[in-house]
Subunit: 212 residues, 2 copies
């Protein structure tokens, strides 16, 4: 069967304790499709030799990208907002709920990941002092204030903003940085308990394992 | 006159060579409104004492945020995509053009700024070696490949994606890092020559100067 929606990810990524299996960002798109009951295929592009066709669809040579009929779209955040137009399960339809979903999806990308991803990257070097540490903690503090008073980021319900934010926070080193933020941990636990995430994660791990 | 749209920014920010006047992110919203001919007011919140009302609208205590009737929305990227729904001058109306505008707006936030902003921040310390240097250059290289073949990021025309990307790239230290990327510089020059940007920048500088 061919679905209208095809998620592109790598054919293989390293496994093991620090391998990204279970964390590659195609999981965000799988998760959204599972939440909404949208039919989708998963196709592979080579991890090791990224060719011109890959860069034509994803100019930075990353994954995922999404094919929806004749539309090709990259950036997991853009793909989530694109999918959200297809199903109310991913975003409410009233203008206020839509605006909240939009602002918190972008916030996960540009207020949290803009700090947490480079913070994580610099941390890989094992240096004693991370120049982004204070910035990272202040972002987590502010987000904690928000999540101490609500179960979901936007519109009092689950939305794609929660997919984005929970996926940004569940990165093991990032999660380890939230030891003083119990409401963040409770939020991540709550969002990751959703069956659609559990299926998406298992499917991703199985996808990469096929190529071992 | 009261407009439906109110852009909130600080009442004042430092001036001088390294002051952010002309670069505070409310400029993105002013610029979009100017491009689209949307009527808007600008209101101030204190730079020095950021109170609970500010955090209620912008949980990280930053600016801008936008009030649109009873909708309050933060994150400049979210505000731009929200405004883009109001005018075809900001985003085409066909699904393919809309998807391209969305992916490149998010790309400016999560593929470029996610590297360029922390790279810039770390550079402030004056350390000899920036741990994000290689990552930064590789992102600029890839973006240069794209902009070497087109005048605008999305849909063969100006969109909010160009506001976001040109504003991310025009930061002086970032622009200085593009010396091997002539197509990036030509792109920034081309986008910044637009009258709507020139007016938005002058208006922002005048706004902060009023409080000196």
């Amino acid at each position: 069967m061919t679905s209208a929606l095809t998620i592109y990810t790598y054919d293989w990524v390293p496994s093991g304790k620090h391998g990204p299996r279970g964390y590659v960002r195609d999981i965000r798109l799988r998760w959204a499709c599972e939440e909404a009951g949208l039919a989708y295929d998963v196709q592979s592009v080579p991890f090791k030799d990224r060719g011109p066709d890959h860069f034509a669809h994803q100019p930075f040579g990353q994954v995922p990208y999404l094919q929806d009929g004749d539309i090709s779209i990259f950036e997991s955040g853009a793909c989530l907002l694109h999918l959200a137009k297809k199903s109310e399960a991913l975003m409410p339809r009233d203008p206020k709920g839509e605006a909240e979903t939009l602002e918190w999806t972008i916030s996960a990308l540009n207020s949290i990941e803009m700090v947490s991803v480079p913070w994580w990257f610099i941390g890989l070097s094992g240096a004693d002092k991370n120049p982004l540490e204070q910035w990272m903690q202040s972002r987590l503090d502010r987000l904690h204030d928000v999540l101490a008073t609500r179960d979901y980021l936007a519109a009092d319900r689950f939305t794609v903003a929660d997919i984005m934010m929970a996926d940004a926070l569940r990165v093991p080193k990032v999660l380890a940085a939230t030891e003083k933020h119990p409401a963040l941990r409770a939020y991540v636990d709550r969002i990751l308990a959703r069956p659609a995430f559990i299926k998406a994660r298992a499917d991703q791990i199985a996808h990469f394992a096929k190529a071992d």
